[in-house]
Point group: C2
């Protein structure tokens, strides 16, 4: 049997709603924190065994329907010759930001099989360890989000330097995005060859843009990544936050499933990407609330999904470090219990046509 997540991404009726959590691997888990006492973040990604171990930890603990590769969206960027440090409490910080044609020229499009070999090998291990109905989710960064980190040199709220480059030197911008989308498409396909069943494109900060700017400066390059996946028959999830006004243009750029954040009610978001599946969209901060509130919020999301095919339960963004792991387990259990059907198909009264 194919993984539940793959069938849901294709909008086939499924025996229960698949559940996984962005950032389920890593910082919220005590077993990960113990491991991190001995290993740096990027050191983990230099070892296939460690990467596989961290990737599998949340699947063992929470019994979720997918393992998401433990890596950072900057992982393949290291292989492009960029000096990035993940600074605790800050995020990715570059020794030298990428702001000119010469800077872009220095970015190597890496031989991914070489450059991220341990990550790919970890995917092989994880795929072997999982049950057939569980999926491996591979991922790469979205072109705007990674370009934003490269140009700013550090996390930014307004992406002013990035947008100035985009508006003032469109050739440098398009060369940069050419290179990133080429590298990420290759990275995503390599993950699929290694055993990833689905790939998610994380364009997390794309919500800084107006719809017109997204369309002009991002969509063509996002499309290259998801098109490459589509041609290879790999289902994709296209995700961003703050995207309420971008959903139509994001869906037009591509993705079998569109990730929704908590700012838009799930049913409204689904209407805006009609013809696609959706994933989301519980507020990660809602998991810090007392359980009764978490449960009510999750039930509201499920009600808005309405049992229709093409739905994947997830948060609207990554698990926060302070999240109690037990809450994630209870949540997984709740969603499975509430959406389970006897016949291995959706409940008859809710299995209408896709939104």
């Amino acid at each position: 049997m194919e993984p539940l997540l793959v069938r849901a991404a294709r909008r086939e009726p499924v025996e229960r709603t698949p559940v996984w959590f962005m950032r389920q691997a890593g910082r919220s888990l005590p077993e990960y924190r113990r491991l991190r006492e001995q290993h740096g973040f990027f050191d983990i990604n230099r070892s296939a065994e460690l990467t596989a171990e961290v990737t599998l930890q949340p699947v063992r603990r929470h019994d979720v329907d997918a393992a998401v590769v433990f890596a950072d969206i900057m992982t393949p960027v290291l292989a492009m010759g960029v000096d990035v440090e993940l600074v605790e409490g800050v995020g990715p910080v570059l020794a030298e930001p990428v702001r000119s044609q010469a800077d872009v020229g220095r970015l190597r499009v890496p031989d991914v099989e070489q450059g991220v070999a341990p990550v790919l090998e970890a995917i092989e291990i994880v795929r072997r360890e999982l049950r057939g109905d569980q999926a491996v989710v591979g991922f790469c960064g979205g072109p705007f989000t990674v370009a934003g980190y490269l140009v700013e040199g550090r996390p930014s709220r307004d992406f002013a330097v990035t947008k100035r480059l985009m508006y003032s030197e469109p050739r440098v911008w398009s060369n940069l995005l050419d290179r990133l989308s080429e590298a990420f498409a290759a990275y995503a396909l390599a993950q699929a060859r290694a055993g990833a069943d689905v790939v998610q494109v994380f364009d997390s900060w794309v919500g800084a843009l107006s719809p017109a700017d997204y369309d002009e400066f991002v969509a063509p390059w996002s499309a290259r990544i998801v098109d490459a996946l589509r041609e290879a028959g790999v289902p994709s999830i296209h995700f961003g936050t703050g995207t309420a006004t971008l959903l139509e243009v994001m869906a037009a750029a591509g993705g079998d499933v569109i990730g929704l954040d908590w700012r838009i009610p799930l049913d409204e978001g689904w209407r805006r990407v009609a013809g696609r599946g959706v994933q989301g969209n519980l507020d990660p901060t809602a998991l810090l609330a007392p359980w009764e509130r978490v449960e009510a919020a999750a039930r509201d999301v499920l009600a808005r999904a309405g049992g229709r095919p093409g739905y994947i339960f997830n948060l609207g963004h990554g698990v926060l470090p302070d999240t109690d792991p037990d809450v994630l387990g209870r949540l997984r259990e709740l969603v499975h219990r509430e959406t389970a059907t006897h016949a291995g198909a959706q409940k008859s009264h809710t299995s209408g046509t896709p939104a």
Copy 2:
């Protein structure tokens, strides 16, 4: 003649579209930077003369239709007994975050006439200096945004500590917001008595919330501030960013004019707040582009406003520090030229009913 901005806020036909820029006073102006070499930020607000001077600088330079009081949304919070520092490149940082009932209990609701006397006196000076058709815009912080700074103790992207408090200790939250909205309503009314013609409520980071959370945890307190202004006959502008899915609930909470950011096309945003005026919404980062791009973006905004009464031209958020002041002047000129009418009223073919 009443200020243009006041008439526009009441959705009366006006002889040209009023223009001002959030954060027009301060960091983008060389004359301000020179002054700041000798005075700390909060020191300026301890002198009525300095505050008035900084408030007037952009009106002299750009000939905009309004002066916005030079202050920070944390200015009245100092008078509540909170120890805040504005850290360069970071934002407001508190010596001790406000997270418990005891912390909330220590917040004084200040005697505003005393606590922010120089700011109020500055408004009197500025009002005397301006022409009759120019407006003084007073402002205060929105309850969520200020509470967020107080609870986090510093700027935050996800407001996780704030939301945890909101969900887990709703009594502490409501006591905190009671106190803030009481202080801000008093502060806003005092500004109006001193000569502010319009007051803008800056709930800048409210876009971190889902519509349901906004409605439960913010709307009742925002309403108190704008209701107090309405009862006093003072037009209000209710502003936030990332609010595409919050516009209806924000408009329901109140405000004669709703501020829109650049993430939503202006006409679409206006439809969502039907019956109100709108202000906005050029992307502040767009001002870093070559002039042809700035002009095209501004013309697009004006076209979407369609010459209808109730429109105020502004950016979608504050002027960025790196903005060339000349671009602001050219932009003001462009908007005035493009929207000027001969008869002192809107163009006849566009002066239909308000949106």
